[in-house]
């Protein structure tokens, strides 16, 4: 028997300190509206990271918060805003008025961003697609280039591979090595994680290897790829985590109102990010009754699958 490998468990603060330096290209929000790593984003803001390239298909309001806090110099995304209400005011201020500073926006479509990560995950330089042909998106994004197919007469788009420095991926449960079970809609999480040079897994729950190995089809990130595991219950609030908590629609709507003006956004940031030292403190501020209202009302367990032989 070999000794069990060392645990990769870190606190959120340690994980961000170690694996997300300023200047990094960071993939977040890979599971779309589910499981957005808000607690990781807030820690990045608290640690004052700058010059980040944020990568994510729709990003929802986390990117808006990070742009407003001055963390990002570039966004590579298909959609930046607030899924509940449309516009992201910090994103708009940065693009339209360079507040707090100018950012570069590299517009993708969801499919082309998924393919950029797929190419990265496969280790090839590009993926071909018909998507985005005829759009003005391809005129402004040098990573989407028309080419003549070498096998027939067609024109396609070559989507250049993307390899983020680090992917931050919330999962329902993981073991200390980072073997991760996640379920629900996956968005670009699998390709995104595999395309990235490092992966930080943010787990709602820590489990033993035996639990992971009991259902290996549900292991969507193998532990050997993972750099750090953060055990962070409620780490995705206000976005939902299937089987753990629902979407806090009110929190999204309130942020929409309170980010409309720069000074109000700064107050919001102070209250929910800068003045709370950890997710535990953030949840305390949110309050027991709000948490109770978001908890699973009716559990729905899957049918057991038999791995016996």
């Amino acid at each position: 028997m070999t000794a069990s490998p060392q645990s990769k468990l870190l606190s959120m603060s340690e994980a961000i300190t170690e694996h997300v330096p300023s200047g990094s290209t960071v993939l977040m929000g890979a599971e779309l509206e589910q499981m957005i790593p808000f607690s990781a984003g807030h820690e990045i803001i608290r640690q004052g990271r700058r010059d980040l390239t944020l990568v994510g298909p729709i990003s929802d309001m986390l990117f808006d918060q990070m742009i407003g806090a001055g963390c990002a110099s570039r966004v590579m995304a298909a959609w930046v805003g607030n899924a509940s209400s449309g516009v992201g005011y910090c994103f708009r201020r940065a693009v339209e008025r360079s507040i707090p500073h100018a950012i570069e926006t590299v517009d993708y479509t969801n499919f082309t961003l998924a393919m950029a990560l797929h190419a990265g995950a496969m280790g090839v330089p590009f993926m071909p697609t018909y998507a985005a042909l005829g759009s003005d998106i391809i005129k402004r994004n040098g990573n989407l280039r028309e080419f003549a197919s070498p096998v027939n007469e067609e024109r396609l788009i070559a989507v250049r591979a993307l390899r983020p420095d680090v992917a931050i991926v919330p999962v329902q449960r993981a073991d200390a090595q980072g073997n991760s079970h996640l379920w629900g809609n996956l968005g670009v999480a699998i390709d995104g994680a595999r395309a990235s040079r490092k992966i930080i897994v943010v787990a709602e729950e820590m489990v033993a290897l035996e639990v992971i190995a009991s259902d290996p089809n549900r292991t969507l990130i193998p532990g050997f790829l993972v750099s750090a595991v953060v055990h962070e219950p409620w780490g995705s609030h206000p976005s939902p985590v299937q089987g753990y908590y629902g979407r806090d629609h009110v929190f999204f709507s309130v942020y929409h109102e309170e980010s409309r003006k720069q000074e109000d956004y700064e107050r919001w940031l102070e209250r929910w990010v800068l003045k709370v030292s950890s997710r535990t403190e953030y949840m305390k501020q949110l309050g027991e009754s709000r948490m109770a209202s978001l908890k699973v009302r009716e559990h729905a367990y899957t049918a057991a699958a038999d791995f016996g032989f």
């Binding site: 517009d107 479509t109 969801n110 499919f111 985005a132 759009s135």
Partner: protein, 244 residues
């Protein structure tokens, strides 16, 4: 508007469901005339039944529960690229006479405004067999030429899509507004196909910033039935999405 959108879904079809109103339209179609329609969501969900309660986003937990498939985006988008998706729904800040859509750059009070961008809209507009657009009818939104083609319609007219390399069986099918339904002629340009009850044709034309052609056999959009209205109210009890 939602009822008219639902009627664009035929029974047994594969539907790429977007955010907001299309989610309600899909639920409505499923529970009325198209019980065998299948819904694909770009976050990786496939459903044979609408969600059991109203949802704000396609990733709300109720939309995952009892899904028939939960996977990744590239899987469902690949079905789209294979040509398997019959109809996809889109919203837009601007639509033009050829059905091109803009959701990237807008204008408010003379100022340029940055909008959220494509999401999956451009992919759907490129790859679905039929695209249905839903938007509020006002002169700021129905413009002669969009300032930015986020999602291509018929470009500059007949033959444009094929010249770009887009799939042969794809393109805009209907634009459903708060005033009526626009469809597209063989030349790729939109015409007014029906007006909603109580709406005058001249009001449609004066709220459209190009000279919109009117069908010779202009129709009246069928009034939503009591049954349809009941489903809409159930899916959106607070009128969060169905204000207009």
């Amino acid at each position: 508007m939602v009822a008219a959108a639902a009627r664009e879904i035929h029974d047994g079809e594969i539907v790429f469901v977007g955010m907001r109103l299309p989610m309600i339209a899909f639920a409505l179609a499923k529970r009325t005339h198209a019980p065998r329609a299948t819904g694909l969501f770009e976050n990786g969900i496939i459903r044979d039944t609408p969600a059991s309660e109203g949802i704000f986003t396609m990733g709300d937990p109720a939309n995952l529960r009892n899904a028939t498939f939960c996977g990744d985006m590239i899987s469902v988008m690949s079905f789209l690229q294979q040509g398997k998706v019959n109809v996809g729904f889109l919203g837009a800040a601007e639509v033009d006479r050829f059905g091109n859509l803009n959701t990237t750059w807008g204008e408010r009070n003379g100022q340029t405004v940055r909008l959220p961008g494509s999401g999956g809209a451009c992919d759907i507009a490129c790859l679905a067999q039929r695209t249905v657009v839903i938007l509020v009818h006002d002169p700021q939104r129905l413009v002669p030429l969009v300032r930015h083609i986020t999602s291509p319609g018929n470009g500059t007219g007949d033959g444009w899509r094929r010249a770009q390399g887009l799939p042969a069986r794809s393109g805009p099918s209907a634009v459903i507004t708060t005033m009526g339904v626009l469809r597209f002629g063989d030349d790729g340009e939109a015409f007014l196909d029906s007006v909603h009850p109580g709406v005058r044709v001249e009001d449609v034309l004066s709220n459209t910033r190009w000279s919109l052609r009117v069908a010779d056999n202009l129709k009246l959009t069928p009034v939503p039935s009591e049954g349809e209205l009941a489903v809409i109210r159930e899916m959106d009890p607070d009128h969060f999405w169905t204000k207009t």
